[in-house]
Structures are given as structure tokens and as C-alpha cells.
């Protein structure tokens, strides 16, 4: 009984202190839905920043506080608390009610204890730890700043294309977030050490790697959609990894933040992929290089980065140093600045998170969204769960599934052609034709599939149509021959030497 009294007193002290904050209460959401707290089979768990773990039911939430019906599981006493958002580390909602444990210190409000965090979900490693950054709210309260996270992940040119993001732009417009965060994770060079410490090493990259593509026209449209059409909404890129073409695109945003382990750079790939420096004629080479460099540099101009920095990031022969003028870095394409960034004439400039931040290229480094929110000046924020993941990641999964089917169909096409002998000729050619028809259908459905069929197999729409039509002709010829043979009374003849028609046009 003494223990019970102590607990009640402690709670009273806490709640009295919090009540003095004059926090406006909202109606009880659970009561409104006909689910009284006392009868709930689940409970909400709130992890406080001071280490307390409170079990009970959330009655109401506003930007200024959470009204919480706390239940002391040991003594079965419930008390209403109003908790300030900044004191809350995490909220776990609708957790199954576990058997009430014996009264433990961990569960006592007002007492700081070591906390293990929320019970892990089955199969999920419990990585919860108290953080001291901004707090993410799960609320629709419009007074809480909101962020809309746009994934740009994978191969630029296929996974990341402007047309894929059109519905996302509409969704952003609809949701009106306080800020758009574009999460870029696209690395051309793998393994990562190819970039460090000696810079991007093109000859060592895996040629089979899915490197970003030189689709500048499409990327211009992508940038235009976000930066110009949504110019009224603050935006930033948050780099998880970005080397290669994606880095060029990323620099079209003037607000950049990086993950602590992020790699950034590798823009040598622009000249390397364009083939501009491969032209034998000196004048033509100069023209092509100037054109490609100009196009790439224009993205950095959009982000407000200096053309000297752009040159050093794009051209290996350029060295780079910088000098500070207040908070601004003045870049020089030589080694004369206060800070030498790149003294090599064989590699382009690349950055890790720390150097990017030190040299004012990135505005800050954040590993978690809470950290990033704090850097952006949000003590509390909410994440808008829009359509972006469904649209973007769904599209990526879909086209890649189609492309995998295409690979299989092309292999089967070759197989069926090689089996098109003797009595099976017509059947096998028919199957080969159907394989190509399926590939053609996939190509028509997804631009990304069309691009990758071109780069990986050298096949385009016209080639596919031609092969299919040729197979049709061949099948017709065989069928006519068979009909002729049957009409003449010699069943089973013909077709045997039709060969593996179309073999010379084999696209594989």
C-alpha cells in the first residue's frame, strides 16, 4: 500500500506540473471511435526522453502535447497525464497488452531508469535508442511542420526518370508539405573504395554495373518539375550515396545534406560515357567536350554552385583549391588556395560527407531523419505518407520485373530457335515468336525496359517487330509446305530443314 501511495503521489506531482502548462485538450479520439480506453485489448507505449516507459492509452494529441491515460501496471491505477512533445522520444501505438509484470522501476513514472526501448516486433531487431534531436509525430495536425520524402534510388535514366515523378509532383501539391526532401541513393561505382582515397577509377568499375545514363534532357525536365513548378515549396536533397550522373543531377538543388557515410562525386562519368574525348579530330573533340561539359555544368548552375567547382568535378585534369571568404568558399582551378582539394590531374573531385560540409557544398550531415529535421530547425515534425513510395518504388519493381521477364524470354527465344528442327520446327518457331512478342509488349509498356533492351542487348522496337514478322513469314511458309505435302498424300514431310530461322538476326 505504501508503494501504491508513493506511485500515486509521484503521478500527481508529474501531472500537476504538466497541467500547469495550460495545454488545450482535444476530444478523446478513441472514445469517439467507440473504443473506450479501459476496454482496449491494446495499449499505447510512450518512451520518454528521460528514460521512462509509460503504458496506457493516448486520449488526444495536439502540437502542444499528448493527453495520455497512464496505467500503472503493477497497481492497476490509471491517471491522466499531459506530456510535452519535446519530452517524448517515441510512441508505440496499439501494442498488444502484455501480462502485467511485477511492479518494476522501469515502469515507474518519475523515476529515471535504463531503458531497453520498445518491445521488438517479431523478426525486427530492436534498434530503438533515445535521441535528442527533433521528434517525429504521427499526427495530421497541420501546425506541425511536415516533410515529404521523395525517393530517387537506383539507376538514373531507368529507375529515375521525369515521367515517373509526375504523379509525385501532383501528390506534393495536394499535401502541401513544409519541405520536400529528395533522398538520393544512386552510386555508379562499386565497390565504394573505387572513389576513395584516390578518386573515381573508371577502368576499375564493373562494366556490367547499372551506371546512370546520359539522359540530360529527361533530367532537365525532372529538375524543372521540382525546382520550377514547385518553387513555392522549400526543397533539399539528402544524399545517401550519389556518384556518377546522379551527382550531377543532385547539384541542381541548392540545399544539400549528406549521410555521414555518403559518397558524392564521380562526375568523370559524364565525359567518359559521352565518348566526347574519344573523337580523333582535335576540333571535333573540343566541340563535343565543350558541349557535354556545358550541359553538365548547367545543372550545377541551377544549384548555384561555382563553375570552377563544376569544372573540377567533371574534368580529371583540373586541380582544385579553395579559400574562405567569410562563410563562402572561393574556388580556384589551381593549387594556390588555402585548402587544396585536388592536386591530381588524373581524377575528378569527389567528396565525403565531412569534406562536403567543411567546404560548404553540403549544408550539414545527418544520419537519421530526426537529425536532419533538427538541422532544418524543426523540433517536431511529421512525415507525410503520400503516394510517393507506391508510385516510385512500385514503378521500379514493375519495370524491373518486366525486364527480368524479357531476359528470360530472350534466352528462351534462342533456345526455341535452336530446338526448331524436324517435327518440332513449327511448334518451336511459334514459341520463339511468342517470346519476342512478349518482349515487344514489355518494351512498349516501359521506357526503362526499352532503354535497357537497347543497352544490354542491342535490341530496339523495329528490330523486334522485324524478327517477329520474319518468324511469321517462316511459319507461314512451313505451314503451306506441310499443307501441300499433306494434300499430296505424304504426311509428315517437310519442315525438317527449316533450320533455326532467323538465326543470323539473333538479337542476343
Amino acid at each position: 500500500m505504501k508503494k501504491q501511495l508513493l506511485a500515486v503521489i509521484a503521478l500527481s506531482v508529474v501531472s500537476a506540473g504538466l497541467m500547469s502548462q495550460a495545454i488545450a485538450q482535444q476530444s478523446d479520439p478513441k472514445a469517439a471511435t467507440g473504443a473506450p480506453a479501459a476496454a482496449a485489448a491494446t495499449e499505447d507505449i510512450i518512451y520518454m526522453r528521460d528514460g521512462r516507459v509509460l503504458h496506457g492509452q493516448i486520449l488526444a494529441e495536439t502540437s502542444r502535447g499528448v493527453t495520455f491515460e497512464y496505467t500503472d501496471r503493477a497497481i492497476k491505477v490509471t491517471t491522466k497525464l499531459i506530456l510535452k512533445p519535446e519530452d517524448i522520444a517515441e510512441i508505440m501505438r496499439d501494442q498488444p497488452v502484455a501480462d502485467a509484470p511485477a511492479a518494476s522501476d522501469a515502469d515507474k513514472p518519475g523515476e529515471v531508469t535504463a531503458v531497453a526501448g520498445p518491445a521488438p516486433k517479431p523478426g525486427v531487431k530492436n534498434e530503438w535508442k533515445p535521441t535528442y534531436g527533433a521528434a517525429r509525430f504521427e499526427t495530421a495536425d497541420a501546425t506541425v511542420p511536415s516533410v515529404y520524402i521523395v525517393p530517387m534510388r537506383g539507376q538514373f535514366g531507368t529507375d529515375v526518370r521525369s515521367e515517373v515523378y509526375k504523379p509525385v509532383i501532383e501528390d506534393i501539391r495536394k499535401n502541401k508539405p513544409s519541405r520536400v526532401i529528395i533522398r538520393i541513393d544512386s552510386a555508379d561505382s562499386f565497390p565504394p573504395e573505387l572513389m576513395h582515397p584516390t578518386g573515381y577509377d573508371i577502368p576499375r568499375t564493373d562494366p556490367a554495373l547499372e551506371r546512370g545514363m546520359l539522359e540530360f534532357e529527361n533530367y532537365r525536365e525532372l529538375i524543372h518539375m521540382f525546382r520550377d513548378e514547385l518553387s513555392d515549396i522549400p526543397q533539399m536533397v539528402w544524399i545517401k550515396n550519389s556518384d556518377g550522373i546522379s551527382a550531377t543531377v543532385a547539384m541542381a538543388w541548392d540545399q544539400m545534406y549528406m549521410d555521414p557515410k555518403a559518397r558524392f562525386g564521380g562526375m568523370i562519368t559524364v565525359l567518359e560515357q559521352s565518348g566526347a574525348n574519344q573523337w580523333a579530330d582535335k576540333d571535333v573533340r573540343a566541340k563535343m567536350m565543350a558541349a557535354w561539359l556545358g550541359m553538365a555544368k548547367s545543372f550545377l548552375e541551377k544549384g548555384g554552385y561555382s563553375l570552377e567547382l563544376a569544372d573540377a568535378m567533371l574534368q580529371p585534369e583540373k586541380t582544385l583549391s579553395g579559400s574562405w571568404k567569410g562563410r563562402e568558399v572561393i574556388w580556384q582551378l589551381n593549387k594556390d588556395g588555402e585548402y587544396l582539394v585536388d592536386d591530381s590531374e588524373k581524377r575528378t573531385v569527389n567528396f565525403v560527407a565531412k569534406t562536403a560540409e567543411d567546404l560548404c557544398i553540403s549544408k550539414g550531415t545527418a544520419e537519421e531523419l530526426d537529425d536532419l529535421a533538427l538541422l532544418l530547425g524543426y523540433r517536431e515534425y511529421r512525415v507525410i505518407d503520400g503516394r510517393q513510395d507506391d508510385v516510385v518504388l512500385g514503378y521500379v519493381a514493375d519495370w524491373r520485373r518486366e525486364f527480368a521477364k524479357c531476359r528470360e524470354n530472350l534466352m528462351n527465344y534462342e533456345k526455341y530457335l535452336s530446338w526448331a528442327n524436324g517435327d518440332d520446327t513449327i511448334a518451336m518457331l511459334g514459341k520463339a515468336k511468342r517470346c519476342l512478342e512478349d518482349v515487344l509488349a514489355s518494351l512498349m509498356r516501359y521506357k526503362a525496359v526499352e532503354i535497357r533492351l537497347g543497352t544490354d542487348f542491342g535490341i530496339d522496337k523495329v528490330t523486334l517487330i522485324t524478327y517477329i514478322e520474319q518468324l511469321k513469314e517462316q511459319l507461314r511458309a512451313l505451314q503451306q509446305r506441310n499443307r501441300g505435302a499433306a494434300g499430296g498424300g505424304r504426311s509428315g514431310a517437310g519442315g525438317g530443314r527449316a533450320g533455326s530461322g532467323g538465326g543470323q538476326e539473333n538479337p542476343g
Binding site: 529538375i223 579530330d281 573540343a286 565543350a290 558541349a291 556545358g294 548552375e301
Partner: protein, 427 residues
């Protein structure tokens, strides 16, 4: 009223409705819009012929599923012309046919309204306010990007009187030199009566030369312009050819009010370019050496402008990423496109180019294998059809035919004659 009576009344009503609308016809046009009118209506049309919209005026005498017949004037000649619906670009009624039902007020009111085939009256465009005409110019110069559309748009603008603003929105990596000359002459002519503005997304090589002709140049922030080195077969122009190109490009640059040194630095990487800027007046002085305060092109660099270098040097007149921003730079109170004619003709042509690029190699391949199994007359008949189709492509899209290496039209016509002779011998 019993059920039978109600049905009889309903049937009569339906019959009356049908009678009232008898003679009304509808034509779906190339752009998906529809013309509605009646047989004997006098109409004005534009018909797509060889990639160019040709006007015609006359009476509609027949409307069938795929075509209409108009009795009127075509290319200065009186004729009854059969026109495929898919070739009709615009069509509007200039005077309605006299109808038996003209006493019905609603019917006569409807008939007097000109039919609409563009978006002008949809409220999107205001032809009376200060405005612009936009022509998106994309693709390879000489293929998707050509002088014909500029000329057509200018002729369209002429209807609104002189002094119209034509915005060429350029996004091209360059192309054929021969088309550059045509574009130069076209723009030079149009500038005598209209204001021609280039809005740059990407203008490399021949596209840069196009922009250099314009009265004003504006950049998107991501815009680039330059690299005008001429080359053929991977080898740059040299000697007399190079000099000729330097002279022409310099003249064009000067005709747009810009220094010829700029053109030279864009053509020859060894040509130098720098400038000084008067801090008080902002006036820029160009130098064909490195003596200026800002060096844009050294001995190894072929000049390509980005938005900031172009505007700082006053090569460009400003940066605009949205129509509203461009409107301000053009001293317009707000962005207003007088109509969408330029956008439509651009799209039509680019779509046709895409179609040609797909169809031509297919037809060439089909010539070899299509109906080969049937042999004899069927095979030759198929080949005749394919050759005819290829000839039609020469009429509709000569640029792509030329660039895709299709035999000249005359050769195809000879081949067609030979095939026809061969076929007649088989009969």
C-alpha cells in the same frame, strides 16, 4: 396513357429528334478535336500535305467514315477534293448551309456559330491581350527542328498583324548545316515584321546558330548554348570551308546584335574570347584575345555559354525558368499565349518524324521478306505496295527519308515502274 401509347409518343419524339438533326455530320480532326456541321456548309480547312498545312476553302459535299469531299479552291485551282480525315489540321464553318429547319431558333443559332478546332475558345488562350506564340523546337536540326515550322508560325502570326512575339523554345544538340542556312534566311525575313525570341534549354551547334539569329535570347537556368564547330564524317571543316562557316556564323551573330568573335570562339577552339564590362553602364566590350577581365574561351576551349556566363556577358537578355518569368523579361503584364498553333504544328511534325523513323526501316526490311513465301504475283504486288508507301513517306517527311538513307524518290518511282511491268508480265 397505357404502355403502348407511351412507347408510341417516345418513338415519335425520337423520330422528331432524328429529323431535326438529319444532315448534321461530325468530323474528328487530326488533333482529336471535332468539327460539327452539315453537308453544304462552307468551310475553311488546313490539310496536312508533305508536312505542311495547306489551306482550302469550299463546300462540304460528302462525309464518309475515313474521308470527306470538299468542292472548292485548292492551291489556287477549283476542284472537288477528297481529303482523308487524318490529314485535316483545322476545319471551321464560314457559312452554314441553308436548312429546312432554319426556323427553329436554337438550330439556327447553333449553325451560325463557327466550329472550333483549336483550344483558343476554351479559355486557355487570349488572342486579344498582349501575348506570344510559342514554337517548341526539338530534335536534330534538319529533321525534327527545321525552318518550315518557323515559317508557318510566322505566316499564322501575320493574321494578327505585325509586331507579334514569336518564342522559339530550343532544345537540340545540333544537326545539318544546310538547314541552318534555311533557318537563318527564314528568321531574317520574319524579323522584318515580328519579334523573334529564343528561349534556350539546350542549343548546341546548329541550334546555337539558330538562336544567334534572334532578336533576343533568354536562357533557362539549366540552359546551354554554343559548340558550333562544323564537321562531316568525324572531320572538322578546314581551310576555305572553315573560313566560309566562320564568316556566315559571324554575320548571323552580328545580325542578332552580337559580336562575331562569339561565333568564332564557338567554332574554333583556338579562337580566344574575353570581355570587359563597364561597371557603370553595364556595357560589354568583346575581345578576340584574353585581354578582357573575363576570359570565356582560351586556346583549348570551344565556347559554350551557361545561363550565368551568357547573361553576365549580355550575350543573353535574361534567365527565365517559367513562362511567368519570361513574361516579365518580355515586358508583358502576364504570360499569355495568343493561341497554341506553334505548339500544335511542332507536335504534329515531331510525331510524324518519330513515326517515319520507325516505319522506314520496317518498310525497307519488309520489302525483302513480306509475302516472299507466296512468290510470284503476291510478292511483287506486296513490293509495289511497299514502294508506294516509301514514296508517300518522301512526300510526307523528306528529311527523315534523306537522313535514313532511303533511295531518292525518283529511284523509287523507277523501281515502281519496273515492278509494275514485271507484274503485268506475270498476268
Amino acid at each position: 396513357m397505357n404502355r403502348m401509347q407511351r412507347i408510341a409518343v417516345l418513338t415519335a419524339a425520337l423520330m422528331l429528334t432524328t429529323f431535326a438533326s438529319a444532315g448534321q455530320v461530325e468530323v474528328k480532326l487530326k488533333d482529336g478535336s471535332r468539327w460539327r456541321g452539315e453537308i453544304n456548309d462552307t468551310v475553311q480547312l488546313q490539310i496536312q500535305q508533305q508536312g505542311v498545312a495547306v489551306p482550302m476553302e469550299g463546300k462540304v459535299v460528302k462525309v464518309e467514315k475515313d474521308y470527306i469531299v470538299v468542292d472548292g479552291t485548292y492551291a489556287g485551282q477549283a476542284m472537288k477534293k477528297t481529303i482523308f480525315k487524318t490529314d485535316i489540321v483545322t476545319m471551321k464553318t464560314t457559312s452554314a448551309a441553308a436548312t429546312a429547319d432554319a426556323t427553329t431558333p436554337e438550330a439556327s443559332a447553333d449553325a451560325s456559330k463557327p466550329s472550333v478546332t483549336t483550344d483558343i475558345v476554351a479559355g486557355k488562350y487570349d488572342k486579344n491581350a498582349v501575348g506570344v506564340f510559342v514554337l517548341p523546337m526539338k530534335g536534330m536540326v534538319g529533321e525534327g527542328f527545321r525552318s518550315d515550322e518557323i515559317k508557318r508560325l510566322a505566316e499564322h502570326c501575320d493574321q494578327y498583324g505585325p509586331g507579334q512575339i514569336i518564342v522559339l523554345e530550343i532544345e537540340s544538340g545540333g544537326g545539318l548545316g544546310i538547314e541552318m542556312e534555311k533557318i537563318h534566311l527564314t528568321i531574317a525575313e520574319i524579323r522584318k515584321r515580328h519579334r523573334v525570341v529564343a528561349w534556350i534549354k539546350e542549343a548546341i551547334s546548329a541550334a546555337a546558330a539558330t538562336a544567334s539569329n534572334c532578336n533576343e535570347i533568354y536562357f533557362y537556368t539549366t540552359g546551354t548554348l554554343g559548340a558550333m564547330t562544323g564537321f562531316a564524317g568525324g572531320v572538322s571543316l578546314q581551310g576555305e570551308e572553315l573560313q566560309k562557316w566562320l564568316t556566315s556564323a559571324g554575320n548571323w551573330m552580328e545580325s542578332g546584335g552580337r559580336s562575331r568573335y562569339i561565333a568564332e570562339a564557338m567554332i574554333d577552339d583556338e579562337k580566344l574570347l574575353s570581355y570587359d564590362k563597364d561597371l557603370a553602364t553595364g556595357e560589354v566590350t568583346w575581345h578576340n584575345d584574353k585581354s578582357g577581365a573575363v576570359v570565356l574561351s582560351d586556346e583549348k576551349t570551344n565556347l559554350v555559354f551557361t545561363a550565368t556566363t551568357a547573361t553576365d556577358s549580355k550575350f543573353a537578355d535574361g534567365i527565365a525558368d517559367t513562362p511567368e518569368q519570361l513574361a516579365k523579361l518580355l515586358n508583358m503584364p502576364k504570360w499569355n499565349e495568343k493561341d497554341d498553333y506553334g505548339r500544335k504544328i511542332s507536335k504534329e511534325w515531331l510525331d510524324l518524324v518519330d513515326q517515319a523513323k520507325e516505319e522506314l526501316p520496317l518498310l525497307a526490311a519488309r520489302y525483302q521478306y513480306k509475302n516472299a513465301v507466296d512468290g510470284g504475283k503476291v510478292k511483287v504486288g506486296t513490293q509495289i505496295q511497299i514502294i508506294k508507301e516509301l514514296i508517300r513517306w518522301w512526300d510526307r517527311c523528306p528529311n527523315v527519308c534523306f537522313l535514313s538513307g532511303l533511295p531518292p524518290k525518283e529511284d523509287l518511282q523507277r523501281q515502281l515502274e519496273e515492278l509494275k511491268r514485271a507484274l503485268s508480265r506475270m498476268n
